[in-house]
């Protein structure tokens, strides 16, 4: 991977040498202040060498809207594909979101209205999940 020297990326889940995804992605720092750490070998611990795949941003972006992982929007190029199915709305109606009385900033009010409409169409069964995802991506990319 280009960029940082391979030995030094601070990616907690990359410290494991196994190439497989470790069991835990989130490693919460221990908050126990009574840990006895007299045997610490130095304060600076270089992370183990990890073969980080190139274009981590690209891989994350493919699961997100293009806006988020890398901020260079002018180079965003092709819009990211629709987000994965996790964004499919649940069986129950989307009343919770639709019921909120929005006071959004001026620029976002149109998009918000469109998204709410879209959600109602989906929960009414008038759109497939794929269509919903497509339209949502289109609305948010404007």
């Amino acid at each position: 991977m280009v960029g940082y020297p391979p030995a030094t990326l601070w990616l907690p889940w990359m410290r494991l040498s196994a190439p497989d995804r470790p069991q835990r992605f989130l490693v919460t720092e221990p908050r126990d202040e009574t840990d006895d750490k007299e045997s610490i070998v130095g304060l600076l611990k270089t992370a183990a060498t990890a073969a980080v795949a190139s274009s981590v941003h690209g891989r994350v972006q493919r699961r997100q809207q293009a806006r988020w992982a890398a901020q260079d929007q002018s180079a965003a190029g092709v819009p990211a594909p629709a987000p994965p199915a996790q964004y499919a709305t649940p069986a129950q109606p989307q009343q919770t979101y639709a019921d909120s009385t929005p006071a959004p900033p001026a620029g976002a009010s149109d998009r918000l209205a469109q998204l709410k409409q879209l959600g109602e169409l989906l929960s009414a069964g008038l759109l497939t999940t794929a269509e919903f995802e497509q339209e949502k991506a289109r609305i948010l990319s404007v």
Binding site: V2, G3, Y4, P5, T8, L9, W10, P12, R24, F25, L26, T28, E29, D32, E33, D35, K37, E38, I40, L43, L44, K45, T46, A47, S55, V56, H57, G58, V60, R63, Q64, Q65, R67, W68, A69, A70, Q71, D72, P84, Q86, Y87, A88, P90, Q92, T96, Y97, D99, S100, P102, A103, P104, P105, A108, R111, L112, L115, G119, K136, A137, L140
Partner: protein
């Protein structure tokens, strides 16, 4: 790009990655933190790699929830965050976070990349310097180091 070249950070450069888990009692999201995070992301200070929500019900059972699935106060513009989720958390991650959650609450987990570091390092690299090491230090290790040096 290798360490020897002097190119600026490209899309393949990765800043340090952290996460935050924020609990909202009774699932009442508050706007100001989201607004501040949006501002940080828009400025390129951080990059949002994942944003996911976890709900813990009154019986203590927890699960991931989608933004569309729970009540959002009027002043919270979660539409801006639609598409931020990359679905990287698995069940063990949910369990880890839920263990700290109160029943009836909703938590947001944000995985973010510290992109400001890239600009900082580039400023040095531009003048011919070379990044040779970087890493994170758990607070406990820092405390231990302070303890060790103060004992002498």
């Amino acid at each position: 790009m290798t360490a020897e070249t002097q190119q600026g950070s490209g899309d393949d450069d990765l800043g340090p990655i952290d996460f935050l888990a924020i609990e909202f009692p009774q699932g009442r999201l508050t706007a100001s933190g989201f607004e501040k995070l949006l501002s940080l992301a828009d400025q390129g200070i951080v990059g949002i790699l994942d944003m996911e929500f976890i709900a813990k019900d009154a019986d203590g059972k927890s699960k991931k929830v989608d933004v569309w699935q729970f009540a959002v106060p009027a002043d919270v513009d979660l539409a801006a965050w639609a598409g931020a989720s990359s679905g990287l958390l698995d069940d063990s991650d949910v369990d880890e976070i839920a263990a700290s959650m109160q029943p009836g609450s909703v938590a947001v987990v944000v995985i973010y990349e510290n992109r400001w570091v890239l600009g900082l390092v580039d400023a040095w690299r531009h003048d011919g310097a070379r990044l040779i090491a970087n890493g994170g230090i758990p607070a406990g290790d820092l405390v231990a180091a302070l303890d060790a040096t103060e004992r002498t």
